[in-house]
Every structure is written in structure tokens, then in C-alpha cells.
């Protein structure tokens, strides 16, 4: 159909812009086996690296003998701390202001810690050789319980920090103390508690879990000694940061380092940090002058890179007898493992945990977090959530349910009573955030109607009576969670990573024919950026999304950005895309005015073209304008049609949602069936509903996994107990519930298109919804709080304790 014959609606549909369930452009390669992941790379002469890892949780290294390994045909080198030390690379800085051993020098501090790096011709030989490296250890007392970390007689873990009384976040008061971070008005909070009519206090633990993306971490480092250039391909959620860190560590100038993140097989926070495998591969490639590949196996992934959570939260609520929350007080013991490698913005050692006042109008609050060392793997990443937000949401949503039980109030009624009201936005929280927008009561009520909440409660009453009469062996639980996320880090005035502000960027070049390439500083790991960014640009500029190619992950070509995690892509880089589109449109307007020989003010923009006001048949579409941009621009205007935008967000965005979960628990086996799960998300303006729904499905499935079974546990000897898919719960299609999704739309007032981000909301809201459902099944009995994960065995133990087992 010729362009002129198309209606406005047809032209609009042709753009496939914001709001359209556009099919994904990235799918074509993935469904044909043509994705390009790091382990798919095969460079000429490439060698393969593998680690020798510690079998001990805490031990002194007495000697390392690599001679047998080096004698094995095909082995090229074995690196140990002694090799890295002269390069000052045996330790590397962490994002949290600590250092982490790249290869253990005198001591190992957690099981599976990296001790030596073997480089060989193929992965089989490397694995064989790793077995041949003889390490002599002397076992030391192991510290696994974070509650014992600061005991006076607790073993000293970090000898490298001896005498260091000042940490990255203030004074250290014990050899295993990392930091204390507090926020809020302690005095006013204590006073509110002293005067409270009702209080609750509970230790709510969020266990150590792991993001476990299907693709493990991997890299290929390739040093070109003649050019003095280093190329690193890797599973990097934040490739530009990796390049900066690599330059600082290696002293290779930043422009001579090329960091490339190809397709990534899921990240969920696992691929934010810099790991010893990357450093060792780079060093090995520099030393040997050939490319070196390192790919984690699953055991290494689960036990050595990037755990999440491990927050032990003592939560207190103060309230009036009729259910007004008057104060929140919380103390968190944060188990950071052997090195503080938390991936948080530099000034936020506990992330944005101070979002823990949740969706409620709480007059005063005080929170203190103590970070401590233990003999466990380092990490502390945000597993599909913004920094420590899921811990905060879990704490407040469990605590509100516990308060509801104490007050004998319905959990929804208590929430409705305490919600921040729509007219209070922008809302200043007691712990320092400015919530940008929200309409909580509407979302809560919509969720109640959709699930027939009142009828569910009535059914639960009947079922409880039937259980008491011995007519059923099932306990019904209804879990409600109402969460507020804080995403889109973040304003550079208070958010940075190693001193680089957390802005993000978009650059676009529109070619003469009107087709375009746009590059962004973020990096998709499955979130469909190639599809959705093009939609934002299509709507803003007026060229079809199908004509816009999106590229990310190559630090040579993409503008600098801080990467993808904490649901920041849409809030930050998506905003840069919208603004870049507006810059293009401004220039296009000048060109159109010139072509149509009218003033700029005489033009109006309509979908994909400029029209002369009052003379709509006089018009120039974006394709025509793009062509003119390369040969016929008004005097004084530069040729070409390109723009770049670096966006520093004025505030975070605050997505929210109402989730309701119904479970049936078999009291004799503890088996918990999820009967129903309803998720209402408000992520502001919806760019691609299909992609949003997919993100919600995936996030809820991860929440289900966390709440119902995931845990990276350590035994008393420091042995990690969950380091394979045999032991670590990843649900299959059989266990995974069916998800019902819904939404409301409350656009962000400060984001150029009103979008807020959604990828992580379902993880943040899902976990408390499941946990509240399981707890609610026992709410009529003598139990206040059951710790996660709610696997069958634990749930059965609760039944047994309550004398319910038949």
C-alpha cells in the first residue's frame, strides 16, 4: 500500500511502537541455533583455563606443587598467587570497596575458592591437570554462622585486613566486621515503640540463594601483543564497567581494551561482578600471547560466583490497636561471605534496603545493617531485583502479615488502612526516598475482585472447620503481597559504581534511506532490548521499529553506559532512547520546514511525518526527511541525522503491584500445591505487553523457586551443600504454577515516556506472596513465622510440630 493511502491508524500500526506486542527480533537466531554465546567462540590458537579450588572452607596453604600438572602434555601454564603478586593482581578491588583474592595466597576462606589456574590446549586436559596440582593445606576453624562472626573469640578470617579499623563504609569494630550502615530517626522510632499500643518483633531470614542463569559465567581473553590491544568477550551485564576495571587493573589504556558481551544466556545479577576467572584469563592471555577461554561449570557457578541475599532481618512494627502502623525498626545481619563483593552502588553498602517501609505511610523508622565476614563464597548480588529491595519487600510484607495476625485483622484490610494514598505522591518516606507515583488502593482492590478475595477467605474458614472435623487433610493458605520496588539506578548525585555515575545512554544514526542503527549502554540477557528499545525509538521518531537495529555490548561502538541490572534498562537507557528520538525529531522538524518552505512552528508532527498546519496535504515523512538530511538541509544546519543522549535520571522509579497466591498444603506430607497465583503489576507506561507478561512469568517462577526450595546452605565444616542442580532447586515445567497476570498503569511523572521497569517486580513481590500463603495456612494455629524455603520437608516439620500429621 502506498504511504499516502494509509490511514493514521495504519501508519501507527506500521511503526510497531510503544504499546504494541511486537514479536521479538532476537528470536530468529535463537530458534535456529544461531545465537552467539561466549562458549560458542572459537578463536585460532585458543587455550582453555580451569581452576584448582579449595576443598576447605578455611585453611592455610602450606605449599602448592604444580610440577605434575606442568608435565602433562598439552598443559601450557599454571598460575598461582605467586605469579600474580608481582603484577599486583593477586587481589582485585570489589564493587563494595573491599578486595577479593583472585588466587588464594596464604589462606583459603571458602570452599571452592580459586587457588590456581591451569591453562591447557583443551578443556579435558585442563581439568586433568587441575587434578594434578598438589596443594598442601592446614585446616583452620571454620566460621559459617553470621551470628557468631563478631564473637570475641571468632576466628580471624581476613588476615590481609589486620589492623584496618576503617572500612569502605566507616569504622570496623571487630576483625570480622565489614560495615554498619544505618538510616532513619533512631530516637523518634524508639519513642514510638515505647508508646506503641501493639508491637511485633520477628527474626525473618532471607536465605542465601543463587541466581543460576542457564548459561554460567564465561569469558575469552585475547591479547594482541603487537598492537598492545586486549579483547575480552564475556558474559557481562555491564561491559563498559568491565572495560574500565580492566584498564585500571592492567594499566592497558582504556581505548586499547575491547570488551564485548555477545548473547547472554540469562544473568539475574550473576553476571554483574568481576570474577577471578576473568582476571586469570586476561593474565594468561597476556602471558601466553594467545586467546584463553574460561567457562564455569555449574558447580563452580553455584558455589563460587555471586550468591544473593543471606539477610537475617529482625523486624519490628509498632501500631495502634486499630491497625495504624506507627513505626518500623529493623536490624539486619548481612552475611557477605569471605570478601565483600556486593554489587551495590558505591555509597549504598546495604543497597536500597531502606525501601523497607514498603507501600505504607509510616511516620518514623530506623534501620541498621551490620555486614560481616564468614567462610562462605563472596557475592551479594541482586538476584533479579534492585539492590537489596527484595529483602526489604520480603521483610515488610511478612511483618505486616504477622501484625495482622496479632491484631486479628485481615491482612488486606491492614494494608488498605496503611497504604500511601494517591494524593500523597510524590511521597517522602521516613527512610529518605521520594516515591514518584502510585495508586495502591486501586491496584489492591482490583486484585481482590479478580481473585474473589472475600470468597477465598470464606472458603478458607470452611476448610479449616472441615480440617478440624477430620474431613480433609489439606490446609488452605492465602498469601497477599503488596510491594513497592525502587529501580532505575540512578541519579548520579547519589549513585555511582567505582566513581562512574549511574547514567545510561543511547546513540542513533539514521541512514539516508531512513533505516537506522541505535546503540545503548545496557546489555540484554534475554529481556528483549533489541525489540523494545526499537519500539520507543519508533514512536518518538516515526520510523518503523523494523527499520531500527539495536546493538549493545560492544564497548568500541556503544556509548558508555552502566549496564543492565536493578531493572535500570527501561528507566535509564529507555529514557535516553526517548530523548535521543526527540533530538532527532527536532532536527527533522528543521529539515521538514526547509523542504516545505514554512516556519518550524507551522508544522505539526503526526505519527511518522510533519504536516503543515491547515494544509495537511503538504507533508514530509521521516523517510523523505532522512534522505534530505544527507543532501538538502537548511543553511547553518549540519548534515546527517544522528544523535546521542546521556541520561541522568532525576529520581528512581517505583513500580508496584498486588499479588495474591492460594496454596493447599497436605498436612501429612508437607506437599504444597499452588492452586492459583494472580499478579497485578503497575510498571507505568507499557512498552510491549507481550514482553512484560513474559518477564512477569519468568520472575514469578524465580520467586516460586526461592520461596519454595532454593537455598545455598553450608554445613558446620564449611561445605557448600547446594552446588548442583541435584541439590539446588530449579523448578521444572511440572512444579511451576500457572500464572495469571494483570495490570494498572500509573506512569512515572519524571520519566520521558512514563515507564518504570518490570523485570524484577515479580521476584520482589512473588517471594512474600508465596511465603505469606504458606504461613497463612497455619495462621489460625500457634505459629507466627516459618522461615523460607518452604520445601515439603520443612513444611511437614511444621505440621508435625503442631500435631497435625495424621
Amino acid at each position: 500500500m502506498s504511504d499516502a493511502a494509509m490511514t493514521v491508524e495504519e501508519r501507527e500500526a506500521n511503526l510497531k511502537g510503544i504499546g504494541c506486542s511486537r514479536k521479538r527480533t532476537e528470536d530468529a537466531r535463537f530458534i535456529q541455533g544461531k545465537g552467539n554465546y561466549v562458549d560458542d567462540l572459537k578463536l585460532p590458537g585458543m587455550l582453555f583455563g580451569d581452576f584448582v579450588r579449595s576443598p576447605y572452607g578455611h585453611a592455610r596453604i602450606k605449599s602448592i606443587d604444580a610440577s605434575a600438572a606442568l608435565a602433562l602434555p598439552g598443559v601450557k601454564a599454571v598460575l598461582t598467587a605467586a605469579d600474580l603478586k608481582p603484577l599486583n593482581l593477586h587481589y582485585m578491588p570489589t564493587l563494595a570497596g573491599d578486595v577479593q583474592a583472585v588466587l588464594a595466597e596464604d589462606k583459603v576462606l571458602f570452599q571452592n575458592q580459586e587457588v590456581a589456574f591451569v591453562i591447557a590446549e583443551d578443556r579435558y586436559i585442563a581439568a586433568d591437570a587441575a587434578e594434578l596440582v598438589e596443594v598442601d593445606y592446614e585446616a583452620l576453624p571454620v566460621l559459617v554462622d553470621p551470628f557468631r562472626s563478631m564473637d570475641p573469640d571468632a576466628p580471624v578470617l581476613r588476615e590481609d585486613l589486620a589492623g584496618k579499623t576503617e572500612g569502605a563504609h566507616g569504622a570496623r569494630r571487630h576483625h570480622n566486621h565489614i560495615f554498619t550502615w544505618d538510616v532513619g530517626d533512631k530516637e523518634a522510632t524508639d519513642q514510638a515503640f515505647a508508646q506503641a499500643e501493639v508491637t511485633i518483633k520477628e527474626l525473618i531470614t532471607y536465605p542465601r540463594v543463587h541466581p543460576a542463569p542457564m548459561e554460567t559465567c564465561a569469558c575469552v581473553a585475547s591479547m594482541d601483543k603487537i598492537r598492545g590491544e586486549l579483547t575480552v568477550y564475556g558474559t557481562f551485564q555491564a561491559p563498559h564497567v568491565v572495560r574500565t576495571v580492566a584498564s585500571l587493573l592492567s594499566t592497558i589504556p582504556e581505548h586499547k581494551i575491547h570488551v564485548i558481551a555477545p548473547d547472554i544466556g540469562g544473568g539475574f545479577g550473576n553476571k554483574v561482578g568481576v570474577y577471578p576467572g576473568y582476571v586469570c584469563s586476561i593474565v594468561a592471555s597476556i602471558v601466553l600471547g594467545v586467546p584463553v577461554k574460561w567457562v564455569e561449570d555449574r558447580m563452580e557457578n553455584l558455589s563460587a560466583t555471586a550468591f544473593a541475599r543471606d539477610y537475617h532481618m529482625t523486624a519490628e512494627l509498632a501500631a495502634t490497636r486499630d491497625g495504624r502502623i506507627t513505626a518500623i525498626r529493623a536490624h539486619v545481619l548481612a552475611d557477605h561471605g569471605a570478601f565483600d563483593a556486593c554489587a551495590d552502588p558505591s555509597k549504598w553498602p546495604a543497597g536500597f534496603f531502606n525501601i523497607c517501609t514498603g507501600s505504607y505511610d509510616v511516620p518514623t523508622a530506623y534501620v541498621a545493617v551490620d555486614g560481616v565476614y564468614t567462610n562462605k563464597a563472596p557475592g551479594g548480588v541482586a538476584y533479579r531485583c534492585s539492590f537489596r529491595v527484595t529483602e526489604a519487600a520480603y521483610m515488610i510484607e511478612r511483618a505486616v502479615d504477622i501484625l495482622a495476625k496479632k491484631l486479628a485483622m485481615d491482612p488486606v484490610e491492614l494494608r488498605l488502612k496503611n497504604f500511601i494514598q494517591p494524593h500523597q505522591f510524590p511521597y517522602q518516606s521516613a527512610l529518605g526516598w521520594e516515591y514518584d507515583s502510585g495508586d495502591y488502593p486501586t491496584a489492591m482492590k482490583k486484585a481482590m475482585e479478580a481473585t474473589s478475595y472475600a470468597a477465598l477467605r470464606a472458603e478458607q474458614q470452611e476448610r479449616r472447620a472441615a480440617f478440624a472435623r477430620g474431613e480433609t487433610r489439606e490446609l488452605m493458605g492465602i498469601g497477599v503481597a503488596f510491594f513497592t520496588e525502587i529501580v532505575g539506578a540512578g541519579p548520579t548525585r547519589n549513585c555511582d559504581i567505582l566513581g562512574v555515575g549511574m547514567f545510561d545512554s543511547c546513540e542513533i544514526r539514521i541512514h539516508p534511506t531512513g533505516a537506522a542503527i541505535a546503540r545503548l549502554g545496557t546489555k540484554s540477557q534475554g529481556q528483549a532490548h533489541e525489540t523494545t528499545y526499537a519500539q520507543i525509538l519508533a514512536t518518538e521518531i516515526g520510523i518503523p521499529a523494523d527499520d531500527i537495529m539495536i546493538e549493545e555490548g560492544n564497548t568500541d561502538t556503544a556509548p558508555y553506559g552502566l549496564g543492565t541490572y536493578g531493572s535500570r534498562s527501561t528507566p535509564v537507557a529507555g529514557a535516553a532512547a526517548a530523548r535521543v528520538g526527540r533530538k532527532i525529531r527536532d532536527k527533522a522538524r528543521k529539515i521538514a520546514a526547509h523542504l516545505l518552505e514554512v516556519g518550524e512552528d507551522d508544522l505539526e508532527f503526526e505519527v511518522d511525518r510533519f504536516k503543515v498546519k491547515g494544509l495537511p496535504e503538504r507533508q514530509k515523512n521521516m523517510k523523505e526527511i532522512a534522505w534530505a538530511a544527507y543532501n538538502n538541509v537548511p543553511e547553518g544546519l549540519e548534515l546527517g541525522l544522528e544523535a546521542v543522549d546521556y541520561y541522568d535520571p532525576p529520581n528512581m522509579t517505583y513500580p508496584f503491584g498486588a499479588y495474591i497466591c492460594v496454596v493447599d498444603i497436605d498436612a501429612d506430607t508437607g506437599v504444597t500445591k499452588v492452586r492459583r497465583f494472580y499478579a497485578l503489576d503497575d510498571c507505568g507506561t507499557r512498552i510491549n505487553p507481550m514482553v512484560i507478561e513474559g518477564q512477569v512469568h519468568g520472575g514469578l517462577t524465580e520467586a516460586f523457586a526461592i520461596a519454595m526450595g532454593q537455598e545455598i546452605r553450608y554445613d558446620e565444616g564449611g561445605n557448600v551443600m547446594g552446588a548442583s542442580f541435584m541439590d539446588y532447586f530449579v523448578p521444572t515445567a511440572v512444579e511451576t504454577p500457572v500464572w495469571e497476570t494483570d495490570h494498572t498503569v500509573t506512569p512515572s511523572p519524571h520519566h520521558p515516556i512514563g515507564a518504570k521497569g518490570v523485570g524484577e517486580s515479580p521476584n520482589v513481590g512473588g517471594v512474600p506472596a508465596f511465603s505469606n500463603a504458606v504461613n497463612d495456612a497455619f495462621a489460625h494455629l500457634d505459629i507466627t513465622h516459618i522461615q523460607m524455603p518452604h520445601d515439603h520437608w520443612r513444611t511437614w516439620k511444621v505440621c508435625e510440630k503442631l500435631g497435625l500429621v495424621g
Binding site: 532476537e26 528470536d27 542457564m214 511451576t736
Partner: protein, 165 residues
């Protein structure tokens, strides 16, 4: 290490190669045959990312030695589309129903699903879920994968019905 010669049919093409006795089929496919569609997610036969079809059965190629494929018919995701490039109904279904996100599990899922539909051309939702329970996905929550497989079953059944009429 001494190498053994193997001969097999790979996506319908006869292939001869030298492999070490301990070489796993997944490494043979990915590193020697340069077919990188099948992925490695665990190497312990839990995740299914490495699923390929061997003599009419789904196998996890991380737990099969290449020498065991001697004389076998092996099909990988690279052979799923028709030679003229027309996508298989499953490939189409996965794209239409948003059955993939990061794409890492997808080749294994597709190969498992094509075998499932050979075994059971008209599976219920529960049968699909059970049928792909050896394949893990961390991104999609499976709901759209189930829909994608159902889409393909419908399309294939309709085509068969048409052909029969």
C-alpha cells in the same frame, strides 16, 4: 590420547570424524562439528540445554560419549528448519508465543519438543509439562513454552489432516 574413528548421520548428512574415547557428544558437536546450537548448562544431565535427537530419542548429549553415536542418526536444532529455510512449526510457535527469552535453553527445548510431538502428536497441557520436564528454563516460567508447543501441535495436526483429505 588415541583417537577413534566414528561415522554418523548428522542432520541427514554423513559425517566421519576422529574423537577421543572420552569426548562427550556435546563437545564433539559444538567444538568439532561447530554446531553450537546445543548448549551446556550443567554437564550433569539435569538441565537439558544439550538435548539432541539420537536414533529417534531425546538424549542429553553431555552424558553421551561421541563414540556411542557411532552409526547413529543425530539431529540438532540446526537441522530443524526445512532445507529451503522454512521454519519448523515449533520454531514458529516459539517465536509467535514468546516461548523464549535469553534463548539458551531454546535449542534443547525445541529438540525435546519435536520428539515429544512425534511420541504424542496431541498432548494435553499436563503431558507437555511432563514431556519437557527434563529441560530447565530460568527465563520464561514455561507457560509460553507450553503454548508454543501447543501451537505447533495444532499446526502440524491441521497440516496432516489437510494432507489426508
Amino acid at each position: 590420547m588415541a583417537k577413534t574413528q566414528i561415522t554418523l548421520a548428522l542432520n541427514g548428512r554423513q559425517v566421519e570424524a576422529l574423537v577421543e574415547p572420552r569426548t562427550l557428544l556435546i563437545h564433539f558437536l559444538r567444538e568439532q562439528m561447530l554446531l553450537t546450537g546445543a548448549h551446556i548448562g550443567c554437564e550433569t544431565s539435569h538441565c537439558g540445554a544439550c538435548t539432541v535427537d539420537m536414533d529417534g530419542k531425546s538424549v542429553k548429549s553431555c552424558t553421551v560419549f561421541a563414540v556411542q553415536a557411532e552409526g547413529a542418526q543425530i539431529a540438532t536444532v540446526e537441522g530443524l528448519a526445512a532445507p529451503d529455510g522454512t521454519l519448523h512449526a515449533l520454531q514458529e510457535g516459539f517465536a509467535e508465543m514468546h516461548g523464549l527469552q535469553c534463548g539458551f535453553c531454546t535449542p534443547g527445548m525445541l529438540m525435546r519438543a519435536q520428539r515429544l510431538l512425534q511420541e504424542n502428536p496431541d498432548p494435553s497441557e499436563a503431558e507437555i509439562r511432563m514431556g519437557i520436564s527434563g529441560n530447565l528454563c530460568r527465563c520464561t516460567g514455561y507457560q509460553n513454552i507450553v503454548k508454543a508447543i501447543r501451537y505447533a501441535a495444532d499446526k502440524m495436526n491441521a497440516a496432516q489432516k489437510e494432507a489426508a483429505e
